[in-house]
Subunit: 294 residues, 2 copies
Amino acid sequence: MNATLKTFMSEKRKWFDTQLSLIFQDAPITPKLKQAMRYSLEAGGKRIRPILIFATLNMLGKNENLGLRTAIGLEMIHTYSLIHDDLPAMDNDDLRRGKPTNHCVFGEATAILAGDGLLTSAFQIIAEDRMLELETRTEMISLLASAAGPEGMVGGQEDDIEAEEKTLSLQDLILVHRRKTGKLLRFPVEAAAVIAKVEKEIYSTLVRYAEHLGLAFQIGDDILDIVGDEKKLGKPIGSDVANHKNTYVSLLGMTGAKEKLSQEIYAAIEQLKRINCESSLLNDLALYLLERTH
Amino acid sequence: MNATLKTFMSEKRKWFDTQLSLIFQDAPITPKLKQAMRYSLEAGGKRIRPILIFATLNMLGKNENLGLRTAIGLEMIHTYSLIHDDLPAMDNDDLRRGKPTNHCVFGEATAILAGDGLLTSAFQIIAEDRMLELETRTEMISLLASAAGPEGMVGGQEDDIEAEEKTLSLQDLILVHRRKTGKLLRFPVEAAAVIAKVEKEIYSTLVRYAEHLGLAFQIGDDILDIVGDEKKLGKPIGSDVANHKNTYVSLLGMTGAKEKLSQEIYAAIEQLKRINCESSLLNDLALYLLERTH
């Protein structure tokens, strides 16, 4: 990974993780529930979504502080989706980020409630974000709910479940993933664009960058589920095959999937050239997603 | 029930149900997920929370239209909480509002997602409510999330689960219920007060009314779980005893619980006298809660 990006990621991640750990520290929440929420929220992970907010704000010449609470809300929603996705009634996974999944530690009922709690708090944190104007807050909540809700991630998860017994076309698989993982990876770039109040044209260009990046991210995950290192990933590989999931690898083969990944990354980078800003962070972030599968 | 209240409730409920049925009608949501969300959302119920918003707005001389989208968001959150509460990992109930519970019809995975989807959409609907000023929207989202989240309802549900094996004191039981059901019954009165921008003192008085009402509502539910009519309730009675739940009846006996219910109702009504407004709707609503257990 490029040295500048590496420093940026590690510094922002450390800062973000510290801020995140303070959020519920003194909140009057039943101990076991608070523990369950914090267990998954503070389990680490790459924090790729928050980093995307900070990197885009940086590129647009804005203080990264302005995106902090939005980033925390977004990470809460990402985390809740993992907790619910891992439940026995869903993917039934035991391991996540190298640790036993939430329901394995706290039981199913508390895991469901911890997810519900994180999802609810995410919107509260943005509604109360005094760093942002009122109009920015309502727009942010609307965007985030749209990306995470039934027209976005939750809908994509339902599609994904229903697709388990079918073989999808490449077109259909892309549609499922655009909702299931794409919209929540597109949101951070949009969030930064909303905070920076960019012109319409730059907004659309950034959204196209994020859409290519999001698709590449999913293809990368599919590849890593076969050739990845369990220790690095923090979860067992091969679960897609075991769950009869449609993946880019099952549809295109390993070579085809890697080719498609590479296409998407370069399509993302191509978009950045249209914006008259120093965009090396977003450029290198895209290249990093390519790198991690090689 | 008082004739004026009866007309008000039946008219507002009809209006609300019609508006509610339009919300997801044309939304681009995966068919099965949309069906699952609408199944529980449109299963009826007394719509007591929306009615409380409308009745309070009416008392404060405001158009009830101003509270419509907040009422829809609130009912979505109430509905999601019922769907998740009925899951096998939680209360494992088969019947709700006279119909099979969500997971019995659509399966556990889709029921979890339908709940997640309703919870997420609730905030979107308020964030996009053009009838309200931006400041009112952010305050509303903050209030609702606080009432529904880990410091409110979700926390109360966790408390409730943990209390199943213990015998609570009356004081502790009241604390659990203040969060589990109280905060979401207090919210509609607060929401109307926020929309009407009432003075601090009236706000506090209304909140006290709502807190007594919320407690009375829960005591009433506990009583009805023993002496209620299964057909009218739409769910089997006796489930509290079967689940070893702490209830006001188990702690105070039936006579004691009815006495406490009556005390709370008259304490609620007492608050209304402090406000210089025509408050007969809220007055009669309180009396109705007393009536339904007799």
